[in-house]
Structures are given as structure tokens and as C-alpha cells.
Symmetry: C2
Subunit: 216 residues, 2 copies
């Protein structure tokens, strides 16, 4: 059963820790700021005040017993870097770091971070994808070549049956399921009539997916 | 054809603007800091230096001609708020704001922001979801009751045919597609043998999805 330690309980770190607790995981929260530790004390499994650049302090809380330690310190890069180096020296299995830019990411990976996240940049790119394809509700990549996307039925297809819409021939995509209000139809039949408000889950190669997005 | 203006070209704002430009959209970037404007001048369709709390300056760049304006100013809440108020007074159609906490979000919505994003909090929650279900590659919600999830085939199912795995009866989920290396099989047949490394795209009610996540 995985256990997590989160060092740095700012916006990113605290929401990470609280969400993991919500999911039933044991979380140790660490921050050097006493008011922050106090505020979260009864919301996270265990919260301690310590300076994470101090290897002895990390050892004292048995940091290596955690499968994953997240270093969620952004604006103090030196503390972030020293903490990451300390965690890897103590042989913590997986260390995930926040960073503020690519230069920091490169350095952290070089000193042994297993993964580095740039939350603000990723959030900006994510919002852009959403704004760029407003009819598209969501999408997941299936390998590097294919995607499943969820989209509102395009106006130009409303009233057509699946057979008439002819999506496989026109766009190379297959409708996996359709959600109409609360009813889900998996592998809908060819005579199913597409109705305004239907949510379609379709699968196809990424180039094909791009072409249907143009319909939206 | 939608056009976007992004006010505040920090990490969140700049990556939003650059990603929209990559997607072929016309973007106006605004920042009061000259070095930032200079650095992005040849990467964004159009970049201007101005103080976004100045309604006249906003009018001078024809801000109402943009369908969507994003206020990506975080640490200066007063500027964020005044800018949002100015944009709505000028009747900008859609205003999306960044905010640093729930209190700021409430205030911005109250003065007319159409949507408020908390990027660091959302990034923390998103990482938590990923860490919480490591066998699960990705997921999309299909309405409030169902999800499509992409998962690595659980070890306990390797070597079984789809019929033997009996996922619909055991877990209430349907396999929509399977990716093996670069081959995608949509609606795989009952005699398809699940192999180590296969990526499954399955659909089901959220409670059922939670139960198969326990297998991972
Ligand atoms: N050496 C350290 N040991 C423990 N905690 C630390 C240390 N340095 C910073 N912190 C804590 O990390 C938290 C987050 O740090 P900071 O605010 O610098 O990052 P941020 O990236 O701006 O945060 P946010 O996630 O809110 O965007 C703060 O609560 C701070 O007290
Ligand atoms: N009144 C203003 N008019 C125009 N630009 C502004 C104004 N106030 C702040 N900015 C710009 O907004 C940008 C982002 O602001 P700030 O750094 O405060 O936000 P942040 O949320 O910390 O950024 P990040 O997206 O990097 O996390 C900065 O480049 C700053 O110059």
C-alpha cells in the first residue's frame, strides 16, 4: 500500500496532499512554516515542521519508508535542489519535483529527480487545448498514434443516423459510445439517430481526430 | 475564427499564449513588463506593453474585438481584479481569470469573470489522481456517472481471453479497444488473448471503474 510524503505545503503541495488523503492514502506533510503545519494538522494524516534540506531531520521522520516523496517547493530553488539531493542520497525510491522553468527541470533531473513537473506551464497548455477545441469535452491519448475524444455532437451531424453520418469513411473514426442525458449506449447501432446534446466518445488516429475537431 | 488576448505573460499566461499560437490562433499578448514583451515579440502573433488596469489603453488595442480575454495575473490581485472589472465594463464577451485561492475566485466571479482557474491547486489534484492509480494511464469522464479509462492490462488477467476475463460480469465494464504495440483493435473479439503490455480502453460506471482500479 503506497505511502506518500509531500515536502512544501503551498498551493500545489497542499492540494496534492489533501487529494491523496481523500483517496485514502497515508500522507506525511512537511513544511518549515509553523502556521502552515498548524493549519493542515488535522487534514493530512501526519504533518511535521522541519527544514527539508536537513538530512538528519529527514532521517528522523523515516523519509525512506515512503515510496514516493514529492518536493513541492517552487520559489526557493536552492531548497528544492538541496532537498532533492538529500532524498536521493538517502535512497528514497521515487522523487517527484516541482520546478518553475526548464533550466530548473534540467538541473533537478541531473541530480536524480525521477520526474519534474512545471504546473503553471502545463496548466496554460491545458487551458489552450480546451479553448482551441471548444466542442471537444476531453481526450486521452491511446499510444502515440491514436486518441479517444469526447465531443458534443457537431451541429452538422444532428438528425443523421450513424450510418448516414458515415464517420468511418469520411473521417476514419469510430464511435465507441454515446451519452444522451443519463443513458449510455456502447457500440451504438447504425440506425441510431444523432441528436442535439449527445456526447460522442470516438476513437481514431490523431490526424483523423484533428479533422473532426475542425467540424466543431 | 476565434481570437484570444492574454493579459499577463508569466508562466501560465505565456504557455497559454504560445500553445494557442501553435494551434494556429491569432493571439494578442499583453504585459506591462518591457523585457517580457520583447522576449515574446516574435513568438506571439502580436505583443504589446501596457497596464491592463488602464481602460483607455485596453480600448486602444481594441480589446473588445477578442472573443476571449484571459487575465493571467496571479500575484497582483488588485491588478487582476481591476483588469477584470475593466474588461467586463467594456463588454468583452468571455473573461477567464487566474486566481491564487478560493477567496479570490469568489470575488472575481462576483465582478463578472466567466470562469476562474486555480492552476497550482488543479495541478496538485491532477498529480494526486495519477499517483493514486498507477496502473491507470488516463481517464475521461463521460457524463457524471461513467468514465472511459485507459489502463495497462492487470497482471492477474494476462494470458486470459476477453471471454475468460469476464470483465462485464465481474466488473460491469466493457473493453472498447486494445492497443498492443502500435496495433489498435477496436471492439476486440471474445477470443482475443490479453497479453502483458496491452493497453486497454474500457468504459463503465464510475463505481465499477473504481473496482477495477483496485486490480492494478
Ligand atoms: N527548506 C524547506 N523545508 C520545508 N518546507 C519548505 C522549505 N522551503 C520552502 N518550504 C515550503 O514550501 C512551500 C511552498 O513553497 P513556495 O511558496 O516557495 O512554492 P510555490 O511553488 O510558490 O508554491 P505554490 O505551490 O503555492 O505555487 C511553502 O509553504 C514553504 O514554507
Ligand atoms: N497591471 C498589469 N498589466 C499588465 N501586465 C501585468 C500587470 N500586472 C502584472 N502583470 C504581468 O502579469 C504577469 C504575471 O504576473 P505574476 O507574475 O504576478 O503572476 P503569477 O501568477 O505569479 O505568474 P505565473 O503564471 O508565472 O505563475 C507578469 O509578467 C506581470 O508583468
Amino acid at each position: 500500500h503506497a505511502e506518500f510524503a509531500v515536502i512544501g505545503l503551498g498551493r500545489f503541495g497542499s492540494s496534492l496532499a489533501l487529494t491523496l488523503v481523500e483517496r485514502g492514502f497515508h500522507v506525511l506533510g512537511i513544511d518549515r512554516d509553523q502556521p502552515i503545519v498548524q493549519r493542515l494538522a488535522d487534514k493530512i494524516t501526519q504533518v511535521v515542521q522541519l527544514d527539508s534540506t536537513d538530512e538528519e531531520a529527514l532521517t528522523a521522520v523515516d523519509i525512506t519508508s515512503f515510496d514516493t516523496v514529492v518536493v513541492a517547493i517552487g520559489s526557493n530553488f536552492e531548497a528544492n535542489l538541496l532537498t532533492t539531493v538529500a532524498l536521493k542520497a538517502l535512497k528514497v525510491e521515487r522523487v517527484i519535483c516541482k520546478a518553475l522553468n526548464e533550466r530548473q527541470r534540467t538541473i533537478l533531473l541531473r541530480v536524480g529527480a525521477d520526474r519534474v513537473i512545471l504546473p503553471e506551464f502545463e496548466a496554460g497548455a491545458r487551458l489552450a487545448q480546451e479553448l482551441a477545441a471548444p466542442g471537444m469535452v476531453d481526450q486521452i491519448a491511446l499510444g502515440s498514434e491514436h486518441s479517444i475524444i469526447e465531443l458534443r455532437v457537431p451541429r452538422s451531424l444532428v438528425g443523421q443516423s450513424i450510418m448516414e453520418a458515415d464517420l468511418r469513411r469520411r473521417f476514419g473514426i469510430t464511435i465507441l459510445a454515446i451519452k444522451r442525458n443519463d443513458i449510455l449506449t456502447v457500440s451504438p447501432p447504425p440506425d441510431y439517430t444523432l441528436t442535439n446534446g449527445d456526447i460522442l466518445a470516438v476513437i481514431g488516429e490523431n490526424t483523423c481526430i484533428a479533422r473532426i475537431s475542425a467540424l466543431l
